[in-house]
Structure formats: C-alpha cells, structure tokens
Symmetry: C2
Subunit: 84 residues, 2 copies
C-alpha cells in the first residue's frame, strides 16, 4: 500500500470529521548509522513556523507525536485548521 | 496499519539502501470544502528551505511528488542525505 493510498483510505470522512480542514505532516529520518545527528526534533519548530505563515493555528490545534527507533525517527504533526 | 508501522515496514533496509541516510516528508492537506486554499504547493519550497538549514542537500537529491484529489492534496518529499 503506497503512502497516497494510506492517506486517502485514512481520509475517508466520517460525518464528524468532514467539517474539519486538516493538515498532517510526517517527517521520517532513516539513519544509516546510529550516531548520525537527529535533525527531526530540531526541524519540528521550524516546520510549525512555516505552517503558521499560511494559517493562523493555535498551539493546542497542533498535536505532535515523535517516535524514535535505533535508526529511524518519525515526527507526526496533526493540525486542525480553523473553519474560516 | 499505523503510519509509524508504515515507515518502519518501508524502512526495512535491503543491502543497497542501508548505506543511505534518508529524510521523507509528507504533507497531507484534507479540505472540508473544495474551494478552500491549497497551502501545500506554497509550503513546499519553504519546507525544503528548512531542511537545507540542517543539511547541505543538492537539488537533484530531493524528489518531489504531489497528488491532488478533490478534497485532499498530498506532497511527498524524499531527500537522500549526503554521506558525511
């Protein structure tokens, strides 16, 4: 299953969700060697700042999840966009 | 299947891929109404600029795919990071 299918399948709106505009940003960093620098955590704030240039987003409208494995860090930002 | 599983499963290195550091960024914008502005295309360059602050990335090391459906736009950036 490709990533586009993942979002489309996930995006099937239920009645509750259809009214909301949402922005989901995923940053996955696969490191070939463990001691390589982990950019993801540092980029997180700057990526949110880019979003804020386009949309007026409250702090609590952004949910952040970060998962660290040995060789892979995944950052997931979910932003509920304002109605107007 | 959650998105983290998606990346981990996708990330299983074959011998050819294990040497490469990679950064994958996905931006998915789900719009409740079609005429809502499409931020994704505009954010694309600025997100690449954020990456370039942390990593010296050549233009041809960044592959960009964008898919537009009626209510969903998905941007996928794949960046092969330099070895050193």
């Amino acid at each position: 299953m490709g990533l586009f299918d993942y979002f489309k399948r996930k995006g099937e709106p239920t009645s509750a969700t259809v009214a909301k505009d949402r922005l989901q940003i995923i940053v996955a960093h696969e490191r070939s060697q463990r001691q390589r620098p982990n950019y993801v955590a540092q980029m997180q704030e700057e990526i949110i700042a880019v979003i804020r240039k386009y949309v007026n987003v409250d702090k609590d409208a952004v949910s952040i999840a970060i998962d660290n494995a040995d060789d892979c860090t995944i950052l997931e930002l979910n932003v509920t966009l304002p109605d107007k």
